[in-house]
């Protein structure tokens, strides 16, 4: 029982990070129908930027409180990621908006490779160890231990997602984004600047990715140049699981995928009588992805299947 509860706690923590990244995929897919392969790399760049800023400030003995240093790191990461995503869209995707569907997908893959290798040149090949900044408290609830870091991650993720929902549903910009997602031509006729709406989707997604990057790095206490790839793939799986193009779906999908993975890793040994071990954890996401795409390609909350699936 306590293993079950413990895996749920771990799963929800990881799941809220997946959800943040999945939102970036789902917004972009919802608006221009492109799988932004480079999104995982944006998470990585966010994490590594935060790493450099935070360790740099701590090493420089500025006397700033740790919380402020982390906040500065986060803001820096958000700024870098937003500019990056804005430029990626402008350079690699916008010229191809009217090309065949294969073309932007291939530039997205190319962009992902470029970003990884640029990051490798800047930050090196090694795993960078991120120091434990806050003394972590452990709380024991019903046999499962919850750390203050886990609570902070889940709360911060929930807060950011609430902000996003408010932005998308209550502001003019959000309305413009939703209109563009529904029908870009008609939205354009209604006086909406489609290019702005698309850029905003990329920039907001990148800001969420930066937050997620900082979270992943603090949670695992490590950052490296290829950390974004598998994370991005899993987040995309989460977006598909929830129903791609659907914001609530991405959140639900992220949480579910985190929990499925954690439970899977916790129980796979017992389920297969010890034949498969927990190092098969990464396989679950892909099995979930394939199963969802075969049986319910519109995802849990998605409405339209259409020609795109």
């Amino acid at each position: 029982m306590d293993i079950f509860l413990q895996q749920i706690v771990n799963g929800v923590t990881l799941g809220s990070i997946y959800a943040l990244v999945a939102l970036g995929y789902t917004m972009v897919y919802g608006i221009i129908g492109l799988i932004n392969f480079a999104h995982g790399e944006v998470v990585m760049i966010g994490a590594l930027t935060a790493f450099s800023v935070i360790t740099g400030l701590l090493g420089a003995d500025t006397g700033l409180p740790v919380g402020l240093v982390v906040a500065i790191g986060l803001v820096a990461a958000i700024a870098v990621c937003s500019v990056l995503a804005f430029s990626i869209e402008k350079v690699a995707y916008r010229p191809l908006r009217r090309a065949s569907r294969l073309a932007p997908l291939i530039t997205a893959i190319g962009m992902s490779i470029v970003l990884q290798n640029v990051a490798m040149m800047i930050w090196g090949r090694n795993y960078l160890r991120f120091p434990e900044l806050f003394g972590t408290e452990r709380y024991v609830v019903g046999g499962a231990s919850i750390t203050s870091l886990q609570i902070a991650i889940v709360l911060l993720a929930a807060g950011v997602m609430a902000l996003l929902l408010v932005m998308v549903h209550k502001t003019r910009l959000g309305t413009a984004m939703r209109a563009t997602a529904q029908n870009p031509e008609v939205a354009g006729l209604m006086g909406i600047n489609i290019n702005t709406a698309i850029s905003v989707a990329f920039v907001v997604g990148a800001a969420l990715a930066a937050v997620a990057g900082l979270m992943v790095m603090t949670y695992y206490e490590v950052a490296y140049y290829h950390m974004g790839f598998i994370l991005g793939l899993k987040a995309f799986t989460a977006a598909v699981l929830g129903g791609i193009g659907n914001l609530a779906g991405a959140m639900l999908g992220g949480l579910l995928l985190g929990v499925i993975e954690a439970l899977g890793a916790g129980y796979i040994g017992d389920l297969t009588f010890g034949v498969l071990g927990s190092h098969y954890q990464d396989v679950f996401a892909f099995f979930v992805l394939i199963t969802v795409l075969i049986f319910r390609p519109s995802g849990l909350l998605g409405e339209r299947v259409g020609d795109r699936a």
């Binding site: 492109l34 799988i35 690699a92 010229p95 191809l96 009217r98 090309a99 065949s100 569907r101 294969l102 073309a103 932007p104 997908l105 291939i106 530039t107 893959i109 190319g110 962009m111 992902s112 490779i113 470029v114 990884q116 290798n117 640029v118 490798m120 040149m121 870009p184 031509e185 790839f229 793939l233 995309f236 799986t237 598909v240 010890g274 034949v275 498969l276 071990g277 190092h279 098969y280 990464d282 396989v283 996401a285 892909f286 099995f287 992805l289 394939i290 795409l293 075969i294 390609p297 020609d307 795109r308 699936a309």
Partner: protein, 359 residues
């Protein structure tokens, strides 16, 4: 290019002379590059392996229009089939003529296994599922060393038998007519023969009923179905054919290297093969061959950059390994932006990519 070909076709004699020249050049190639050292013959062999892979992937991506990002899984399956059947790992030492068809068939089965569940998916969803499939295969290969040791896990399999045909072993050096036939040179001729067979099959396929059916599916699935094309069979056939060429290439890789490990079959290998197809021109056989040769020999040229950089700047500024992938990535982006049909585009692709997507 095409004009030149049509003009050539009107002069059969000129055509045959051209073929003879190319054949002579290909036959002498290993001895010419071999003068600079056997490493260069290995580079050429490596290029031929990539040509096989790129031609296999071209069937799936170029002909049938199914974007496959997990193609290297079939390469891995072929390589491991060979390694397990011809190494001390299981104590099996089957001859090449038995393993080659087995590798072909096993990869073919895996191709169908992947193809069957994803038949209904299109475009980008297909891409991501195949990518997941490739990773699943790699994770399994990496971990299937316990409780029963099948793949020997991350350590990989060593001491794989070299190919042996009759009494001719491909490992040592033979002398014939005053020429030294070293191991890489012998493999070169074997690979060349296989590549020619694969090119022949590809060319014949492209102009056949099957090839035209694939093209129809690529252009418009629904219209193709309405014309009486069996989508399921044709798509499965594309996956199976593509996969089996990958499997054969994998078997050859095993034999030439004598050692394989899961590391050689990462996602980036899939992407490299894809960028060869894209760079050369999807669906165009000469283009794909050009792309594979360019991108596989290019990193060797980069190796000269390291000493060059040291000489000019006093230190290595750009790591050649990073630069290699970086250039692959940049090539993919730039090609899509400025020459979306590739260096040598196929006629149909050119038309297709030139027309705007309907809103």
């Amino acid at each position: 290019m095409t004009d030149a070909l049509t003009r050539l076709k009107q002069h059969p004699a000129a055509l045959w002379v051209g073929f003879a020249l190319i054949a002579a050049a290909l036959a002498m190639l290993p001895f010419i590059v071999g003068m600079q050292g056997q490493t260069w013959v290995r580079v050429v062999n490596n290029a031929l392996l990539y040509v096989m892979l790129a031609l296999g992937l071209n069937i799936v991506v170029g002909f049938a229009g199914l974007l496959d990002l997990g193609y290297i899984a079939f390469y891995a399956v072929g390589a491991y089939s060979y390694a397990l059947l011809a190494s001390p790992h299981f104590g099996l030492h089957l001859p090449f003529w038995i393993i080659l068809p087995i590798g072909f068939l096993v990869a073919c089965v895996f191709g169908v296994l992947l193809g069957a569940p994803v038949l209904k998916l299109r475009g980008d969803y297909l891409a991501i599922v195949t990518l997941g499939f490739g990773e699943i295969i790699r994770i399994f290969i990496n971990n299937l060393n316990e409780p029963i040791n099948i793949t020997n896990g991350p350590q990989g399999i060593t001491l794989i038998d070299p190919i042996r045909i009759g009494s001719l072993s491909f490992s040592g050096t033979n002398e014939l007519a005053g020429l030294d036939f070293t191991s890489p040179v012998k493999y070169y001729y074997l690979l060349l023969a296989l590549v020619l067979v694969i090119i022949f099959i590809n060319v014949r396929l492209q102009d056949s009923r099957i090839g035209r059916a694939w093209e129809a599916i690529r252009e418009d699935e629904i219209a193709a179905q309405a014309m009486g094309i069996n989508l399921r069979n044709m798509k499965l056939l594309a996956f199976a054919m593509g996969a089996s060429f990958g499997g054969v290439a994998g078997g050859m890789f095993s034999a030439i290297q004598g050692f394989i490990s899961p590391e050689s079959f990462g996602i980036f290998e899939s992407i490299i093969v894809l960028s060869m197809v894209v760079l050369g021109g999807m669906g165009n056989i000469p283009g794909v061959i050009l792309g594979a040769v360019l991108l596989s020999t290019f990193p060797e040229a980069l190796r000269y950059m390291a000493p060059l950089q040291k000489a000019t700047f006093g230190r290595e500024i750009i790591d050649p390994e990073a630069a290699r992938l970086l250039i692959f990535g940049l090539a993919m982006i730039l090609i899509m932006l400025f020459r979306p049909a590739g260096l040598l585009p196929s006629e149909v692709r050119k038309r297709e990519l030139a027309t705007e997507r309907a809103p």
